[in-house]
Symmetry: C2
Subunit: 434 residues, 2 copies
């Protein structure tokens, strides 16, 4: 059977990993498909000087991505450049020329996935995006096919490897966030500007994509309440452990009676849950299905080769559909609004919360805080204070029974004006139901 032609735009980490796998694993790929995947042309800003794997044979190189998207021998274009401006143009041009596309671009698909899908379906081509979320975990295949018969009720993820590395190293080594971050930057695990990772924006894009797939709704990053990990300190780990929990940057999409609650934020999770065993730069996704109950998926979140596997697996699937004549006819993003899955503000959720304070020690503090909680109809669960030498900055924790986030936020805002507080209270949900 005739080869399927592939064009690749972008030869960074993911592009290189993809070419390595296409070259080295060609034997298995051909056996699984019944035909060959053939790389016809690659494009990057340094394509003229790059060494490509010999096993790929003759591959055209170009500095101009438009040559890839219009190449007559190319059936599928893999966009591996990232960003949202040129990348979008690449995908739209490819689709406009009747090419199917494979992308690793979470930011673009998080923002414009539904529109790109609509264009692709009109053009009768496919969009594959397994590599855009949790590189090594085939979570798209799982949601799109593996458990497509189920009705997803909740999806929890650890979707940012850098912040998970930082939190779990803090936990392991007892060091401050700044120290661990600095080392991660030195080792190249974190960017010089770490904001996308540690402020939650990277995980937010990924959750926008996954929750759109899981719930069939048009969800954009702005629907997702997002809070990063900058305020997490050693004392929070100590208190969390005392409570039988640990802390992770948790991406959550939960269906409630009122609608879909979406958030990316640090949360306490029980140490006994399998999510707590996700350490270092690994990613994980936990899905609660109405029929299939709990399933859990774990793997590398990034890296040239794990993400390359996602790109190559997508190329294989799309190639199979091209050769055997089966383009997608229904967008995995937003089928049609069922209404029941409308996103609602996170302030409408009900959760137990962990409230951590640092105060100048003096009488009457608990009474003042408890008074504010009572005023907001929030039931106090426990007060916890670990030994502390420094009387000028005494940490302690109050946990509260399940309460509306709106009430908790109002209480925290009111508490923040109290003169014995050294900093505003830190509030984190306790995901005890995991």
């Amino acid at each position: 059977m005739e080869d399927v032609g592939v064009g690749i735009v972008g030869l960074g980490n993911v592009g290189s990993g993809t070419l390595t796998i296409l070259a080295e694993n060609a034997g298995q790929i051909t056996l699984k498909l019944g035909f060959r995947l053939c790389v016809k042309i690659v494009s990057s800003l340094d394509a003229d000087t790059r060494t490509l794997p010999e096993a790929l044979g003759a591959v055209e190189r170009t500095l101009d991505w438009r040559r890839v998207t219009t190449h007559p021998g190319v059936d599928i274009v893999a966009e591996l450049v990232g960003g949202t401006t040129v990348a979008r143009e690449i995908l739209e041009t490819a689709i406009g020329h009747g090419k199917s596309v494979v992308t690793a671009n979470k930011e673009l698909m998080g923002l414009h996935g539904p529109d790109l899908w609509d264009k692709a379906i009109q053009a009768g081509v496919n969009v594959a995006m397994e590599a855009s979320v949790a590189g090594g975990i085939p979570i798209h295949a799982v949601l799109r096919e593996g458990i497509s018969g189920d009705r997803v009720e909740a999806l929890y993820g650890i979707l940012n490897g850098t912040s998970n590395f930082i939190l779990t190293e803090m936990e392991k080594r007892g060091e401050a966030l700044e120290a661990v971050l600095a080392e991660a930057q030195r080792l190249g695990y974190a960017e010089a500007d770490p904001s996308a990772d540690i402020d939650g924006f990277d995980a937010r894009s990924k959750l926008a994509i996954l929750s759109a797939l899981a719930f069939g709704e048009r969800i954009t990053p702005s629907d997702i309440y997002t809070e990063g990990i900058r305020r997490i300190s050693q004392m929070d780990f100590q208190y969390a452990h005392r409570l039988g929990h640990t802390i992770r940057l948790l991406a959550a999409a939960r269906l409630t009676r009122a609608g879909l609650v979406l958030s990316v934020r640090p949360a306490l999770i029980p140490q006994s849950t399998i999510l707590a065993s996700v350490r270092g730069s690994y990613n994980a996704v936990w899905v609660k299905g109405h029929y299939g109950e709990d399933t859990f998926y774990y793997g590398r979140g990034a890296g040239p080769r794990p993400t390359g596997v996602a790109v190559v697996s997508d190329l294989m699937r799309v190639a199979r559909e091209i050769r055997y004549g089966n383009p997608e006819r229904v967008s995995p993003f937003a089928h049609e609004r069922l209404g029941e899955y409308d996103p609602i503000p996170v302030t409408r959720q009900t959760r137990a919360y962990y409230l951590r304070f640092r105060v100048v020690d003096r009488p009457g503090i608990i009474a003042a805080l408890a008074g504010i909680l009572a005023e907001k109809h929030i039931s106090l669960d426990a007060v916890l204070q670990l030994p502390c030498e420094d009387k000028k900055a005494v940490p302690f924790v109050i946990t509260v029974e399940p309460s509306s986030e709106q009430a908790v936020r109002e209480a925290v805002a009111k508490m923040s004006g109290l003169d014995f507080l050294i900093e505003p209270p830190l509030a984190m949900p306790m995901e005890t139901g995991l």
Copy 2:
């Protein structure tokens, strides 16, 4: 777009779960597909007296499965009866009449999967079997699509929920296997004849299917060394814990330089591995990919609704391929022999081993056992003895450095003749590399 017609043979647990989901979740299913899945006919030995979900509308019932496999309105036949005789006839008849098939039958697919696939490809129809292994975990979608670009190097599974329930309850409650098994039987978690579960045969069928998919080889259950959990006792958990391990019935398929080693057997696994957190009747699969590294999948192993999700997801995938014209053209079982993945006997593997003895205490025992190990060129790693009152049946453990299983078996056979042993030594591999 025109409905796709479904016929169901077998209305036991899985069949009932499937019908429930098809009825209740029809709205989402139709949105995801762009057309309806319509149940036309069901067959079971009590089909005439069964109450079917009203939302399914008019459904023909029959006591004769042949009416399902030949029904002109049926595009896909779901075989949910189990066993290997009638079930095989059902699948072959359906395929012969140009119907695609969905099956939850691990025993049949483990034994005859490759042949049934060959017949289906000749007939231009599809065979879907997600429900045949680890009901709630979409491991087929993962291997067939999600990570199809990777080269699998090893696959480990906890594939039998009953034996995992028994082992983890023994661990939690400190009770003997017999007591936990009796309770599991009383609660309906274990069959009156528990052999298929606790002797490893159920897990063996599942491993035959998964390793065929993962390695693209024609693998039959007889290629798999199989040993059950009957000899595991409380003292084994105590010693395993002391060694930082726990015990699970582990299905393993590992690629070595010599070939593929396949086994289902109790093994020591580190307590720190995520596999150790799989408790109760849950299942899990751990895949080591050459490019994508470690991925891990976890969920319900059985149950009407989780397995029903697998059946319905398969029906949706096959229906999509029927409507949009894309039958499989390549068997997922055995593409063609690459040779490198030929199964080899487990005796050729190299592993660390745990050897547990029960002896009548007297001088010279360690010397005698160590002498036999030395004779077989096996290096002793540690000798471990926990306190014991009963001098007439003293347990202790020897762990040995990585050695060939052949040598370990020869040593164990020779030790078994020693008169101070109360029972033959129990040998289990230590899967320290997980």
